[in-house]
């Protein structure tokens, strides 16, 4: 620990409890940071691509997650190191922004850090490296724009969208029925998409899962499912042309929020209170009935008496429906959420063509399906699968596919996958490097090398010879001036990605490069790490 002294030779305390902290500075600090970042990237490297492997993550409570989704792995990894946390953030922001490519972005950042380490050893100043990376990333992003293609799709021609979603799904465990799932995802996105504004609200797509059955049984429901059943076992299980009252007030005696007491001191008061109570329940049910509702969905519980009255008046009801689900139901059925019985009017009721209760398996599991809604814009993807981990992983995969489909609707440019885009960028960056005078030239070249590491990891995971395969593809791209050549991961026999129909979204790729560069720049700029020592 460096100490400062004043002019009389007394030690000068700069940091609080200085001697209890460890401190790394200069090149030492940078190297430590880089190796931490690389360590995270190394974990994810084997999960990249269609032949990528999965990870088992065991949470502090002993729950098991099996996944190969980069963002999920990092989030659950219980990371302690600050730099490693930056990488976790990086993957998360890719997840929020794009939804897919969370593994790729970390692998890319790891490769950039690896290259930076070598340059540092040669004595190049970290800021120069960072600047070089910045320039190179700009070149790469422009080049991506250049090689990207626009493609057409419409409500009827969904094939290209399905193809892209399939590329995303092929790296997951669900690739057995990726075709089916991709189609579901695209249909779901299209049914909630606003094609004119090019906007998609993914909140309108609810992804539900239930263990049991086969993955092939996964279905798209044009409506909402609620994991609840009717409040009274003898209410009808199926309602056609339902008019739904959506309530956030309980069928219970009123509970004024201010503190109060009702004192009973005479027999008359006791009796009037009792009558009042009965009338109150009666009124509540009557109000729903008057508004014309044929189904009541309520966020809160029911009193036994109210429950029977509802049943008695032939008004099926569902209780304890969660707030989010309630909102979705309101959106789907075009109803309004009503907080007080007094405000219930016929026009605030939601409409659905069919509401039915469905039971599963040998246990008492029941779900409520609300279908043929007035506003068909809210849909549900209902996943079935052999076990809990499978369902969870399928949910994550579907989420990725949904995000990809959304991105395509926002911006219909695509690049070809299988590492072809990275290779092409690498060639372009390499070529551009020579035009830059100064030390940055080295950094730009290093960037090009780092770009190569993504296809390299792909080839490695697919059991191919990484160096041989990469150099072969690269030379082919240059020779034929065709950016569509990539790594043939599935052993199809051709490495033209156009023929294999492997696409990725342009913004996804651009975002990967930009985000990775930004994080690496940040890490390179750190030259002093002060942390409280362990003891």
């Amino acid at each position: 620990m460096a100490l400062a002294f004043d002019e009389y030779g007394r030690p000068f305390i700069i940091l609080k409890e200085q001697d209890q902290k460890t401190r790394l500075r200069g090149i030492e600090a940078q190297k430590a940071n880089i190796s931490a970042g690389k360590a995270v990237a190394r974990i994810l490297r084997t999960s990249l691509g269609p032949k990528g492997m999965d990870k088992i993550l065991q949470s502090p409570d002993g729950d098991v997650t099996i996944t190969n989704d980069g963002a999920t792995i990092l989030e659950q990894m219980d990371v302690d190191n600050q730099i490693a946390k930056l990488m976790v953030e990086l993957s998360r922001s890719q997840d929020y922004e794009i939804g897919d490519g969370t593994t790729g972005v970390v692998v890319m950042a790891g490769a950039l850090l690896d290259q930076a380490e070598r340059l540092l050893e040669r004595g190049i100043h970290p800021i120069r490296i960072a600047e070089g990376y910045e320039m190179a990333s700009r070149i790469a992003v422009e080049h991506l724009e250049h090689i990207s293609k626009k493609f057409d799709f419409g409500a009827t021609n969904i094939e290209p969208l399905v193809q892209t979603c399939m590329t995303t799904l092929s790296s997951k465990i669900v690739n057995r029925c990726k075709c089916h799932l991709a189609e579901i995802s695209v249909k779901a996105v299209l049914s909630v998409a606003d094609l004119d504004r090019k906007d998609v609200n993914l909140d309108m797509i609810k992804v539900e899962g239930k263990v049991g059955g086969k993955l092939e049984d996964t279905e798209l429901i044009y409506g909402i499912t609620v994991d609840k059943d009717m409040s009274h076992p003898q209410m009808p299980k199926q309602i056609e042309d339902a008019k739904i009252a959506i309530l956030t007030c309980p069928f219970e005696p009123p509970k004024p929020k201010t503190k109060h007491k009702v004192d009973i001191d005479t027999v008359e008061k006791f009796q009037t209170l009792r009558l009042q109570e009965q009338k109150y329940f009666d009124d509540m049910v009557q109000k729903c009935k008057d508004a014309g509702a044929t189904l009541v969905i309520c966020q809160w519980g029911f009193d036994d008496e109210a429950n029977h009255l509802l049943m008695h008046r032939n008004l099926p009801a569902v209780r304890w429906v969660g707030g989010v689900e309630l909102e979705l139901i309101a959106i789907a059925t075009g109803g309004r959420i009503v907080p007080r019985f007094q405000e219930l009017t016929p026009e605030k009721l939601g409409r659905a063509g069919l509401v039915r209760e469905k039971s599963f398996g040998t246990t008492k599991d029941k779900m409520l399906y609300i279908e043929h809604c007035a506003n068909s814009r809210a849909v549900t993807i209902f996943i079935r699968g052999g076990n809990k981990m499978m369902i969870e992983e399928t949910k994550r995969s579907i989420h990725d596919a949904l995000c990809v489909a959304r991105n395509l609707i926002r911006n219909n440019s695509i690049v070809y996958g299988g590492g072809s885009a990275e290779i092409s960028c690498s060639i372009a960056v390499e070529a551009a490097a020579d035009k830059y005078p100064g030390v940055e030239q080295y950094a730009i070249r290093a960037f090009a090398d780092a770009l190569d590491s993504v296809p390299m990891a792909l080839a490695e995971n697919s059991g191919l010879q990484p160096i041989e395969t990469l150099s072969e593809v690269k030379s082919q791209q240059i020779k034929e001036n065709n950016p569509h050549y990539g790594i043939d991961c599935n052993d199809v026999g051709t490495n033209d990605m156009r023929q294999q129909d492997v696409f990725e979204t342009l913004i996804g790729k651009q975002q990967q490069i930009l985000l990775a560069t930004q994080v690496v720049k940040m890490i390179l700029k750190i030259d002093d790490v002060i942390s409280p020592s362990d003891y």
Binding site: M53, D78, D80, H232, E252, D265, Q278, E305, G361
Partner: protein, 527 residues
């Protein structure tokens, strides 16, 4: 320089080969644990809980065993989960699914050791599973049209399922019970309508199916013990102190006489309520909640049978059985549906009294009364019967039936072997391995029965070389026998679920190349 530690203290990370080893070892250990319970001669396990009292369970139901294990190995957890799902979804085959998944992994381990990439193994397994499923669905028998034959199919399935359980001594009796009960459901899978009551005492053979409904309650003192043409009101209402529910209400009085007045009013209120209930014209009143002495006395005076504190399930079933509705308010008697039954009487089972409702409107429901020497026997009998009921009710919906006794596995193994021969490339090793894993199941069945498995399986394989062969292992005589003649059948739906979820689970575990374990959450020591 040393690689920075990036994980928190106590968190561990296992990579590549080590991770794969850890998950294989865990999964295979679980398989070996439940393996011995497979088949008609499988053994039982004693499970002792760590909770207070150290309750003991004796079972050979795979799902029950696995549910009670405390497992730390993540791969083992996957297997436990598939067994649980199998239990929820089809009810039977919970052991087979774990054993098959374990055998698949055992074979995969050898392939990985022979330097075949896990992804190649997975794609081979997928092809094999698809092929096996097709082979099965080609050989199914479907007797949907012929009611008589279908019933005998059901009997066979019930017998086969029960033969591996504690009930195997009396399987004929119980198979009949189960089939009768399921046939009454008329195609619905709602097993709630079948009530199982366990009464220690007597022998298993004394168990019987009752067409009515038995409520495990006593009839109140001084009330009629026998009612013919009963009109029943099923209710869920407070019959103790019917409180004013308005929030914050309380009684505040300034003299004793006022207290007495209010008490009087309360009593009056209860009396009114009872009057209203009696005004429905009923002679039996069943309530979910407690009935206090005062209203009970009123009911007795009116000659109405009042039954208190029937649990929630009991109430729902009773409402279902008698066709009444569960009432909570009693102001309009004309529109409340009242349940009917021909006869209510108190009967004795063993030495306990129960209330028996017979001649009920809805024919669907029934009650099975199990008798047995001890609680453990009864619990196990209930689980076995539950398995049989689940399988039967699923079979009623999907009427396809297969032969049992290792026959389906041999059929699949044969087809998969064929496929392996036709497939070029490394995948064929994986496909071959799949067929070996399938054959492992009859092997284990034979081993558990103390037979010479190597010899038997070889004979079986030879027998299956002929087209349309019905050979399987006849555990009783210890030789290869004709399964169709022996009447050993299994449900197609169960077999298919076993095959698919075992493959899925094996695939999932195979894909893993790294295990990251977080530090266990620190708990305060509450000891």
């Amino acid at each position: 320089m040393a690689i920075e530690k990036i994980l928190k203290d106590d968190a561990s990370e296992e990579k590549g080969e080590r991770a794969r080893m850890a998950s294989f070892v865990g999964a295979i250990a679980i398989t070996d644990l439940v393996k011995t319970t497979l088949g008609p001669k499988g053994m039982d396990k004693i499970l002792q809980s760590t909770g207070r009292g150290h309750g003991v369970t004796v079972t050979n139901d795979g799902a029950t065993i696995l549910k009670s294990l405390h497992i730390d190995n993540p791969a083992a957890k996957v297997l436990i989960d598939i067994s649980k799902v199998q239990d929820d979804e089809v009810g039977d085959g919970t052991t087979s699914v774990v054993v098959l998944a374990g055998e698949l992994l055992r074979e995969a381990e050898k392939l990985v050791a022979a330097k075949i990439h896990p992804m190649t193994i997975i794609s081979g397994y997928r092809m094999a599973a698809e092929c096996a499923r097709n082979a099965l669905s080609q050989r199914v028998v479907d007797n949907k049209e012929n009611a008589e034959k279908f019933k005998s199919d059901l009997m066979k399935i019930a017998r086969t399922t029960l033969s591996s359980k504690i009930l195997s001594q009396d399987k004929e009796h119980f198979a009949q019970l189960a089939v009768d009960a399921v046939m009454r459901l008329k195609g619905s899978t709602n097993l709630e309508a079948i009530q199982i009551i366990k009464k220690p005492g007597g022998s298993l053979m004394d168990s019987f199916l009752d067409e009515g409904f038995i409520l495990d309650k006593k009839i109140g003192l001084g009330q009629p013990k026998r009612i013919e043409n009963a009109k029943i009101l099923v209710a869920n209402t407070a019959m103790d102190t019917d409180k004013v529910k308005i929030y914050g209400a309380r009684v505040r009085v300034d003299s004793m006489s006022k207290v007495a007045e209010i008490e009087g009013a309360e009593k009056e209120k209860m009396r009114e309520k009872v009057q209203k209930i009696i005004a429905h014209g009923i002679n039996c009143f069943v309530n979910r909640q407690l009935i206090y002495n005062f209203p009970e006395e009123l009911f007795a005076d009116a000659g109405v049978l009042a039954i208190e504190h029937a649990d929630f399930d009991g109430i729902e079933r009773l409402a279902l059985v008698t066709g009444g509705e569960i009432a909570s308010t009693f102001d309009n008697p004309e529109s409340v549906k009242i349940g009917h039954c021909k006869l209510i009487e108190e009967i004795m089972i063993g030495e306990d009294k129960s209330i028996h409702f017979s001649g009920v409107e809805m024919g669907q429901a029934c009650t099975i009364v199990l008798r047995g020497a001890s609680h453990h026997v009864l619990d196990e009998a209930e689980r076995s019967l539950h398995d049989a009921l689940c399988v039967l009710s699923q079979t009623v919906n999907d009427t396809r039936v297969l032969l049992g006794g290792g026959w389906p596995e041999m059929v699949m193994a044969k087809e998969v072997d064929e496929l392996a021969r036709k497939t070029p490339g490394k995948k064929s090793h994986a496909i071959e391995a799949f067929s070996r894993a399938l054959v492992a199941i009859p092997t284990i069945i034979a081993d558990n029965a103390g037979l010479d498995s190597a010899d038997l399986v070889a004979q079986l394989r030879a027998a299956h070389h002929k087209e349309g062969c019905n050979a399987g292992i006849d555990v009783i005589s210890g030789s290869v026998g004709d399964m169709a003649e022996l009447g050993i059948s299994e449900s197609f739906k169960v077999k298919q679920a076993v095959l698919l979820s075992a493959t899925e689970a094996a695939e999932m575990i195979l894909r893993v190349d790294e295990i990251i374990t977080c530090a266990p959450r620190q708990r305060e020591d509450r000891m």
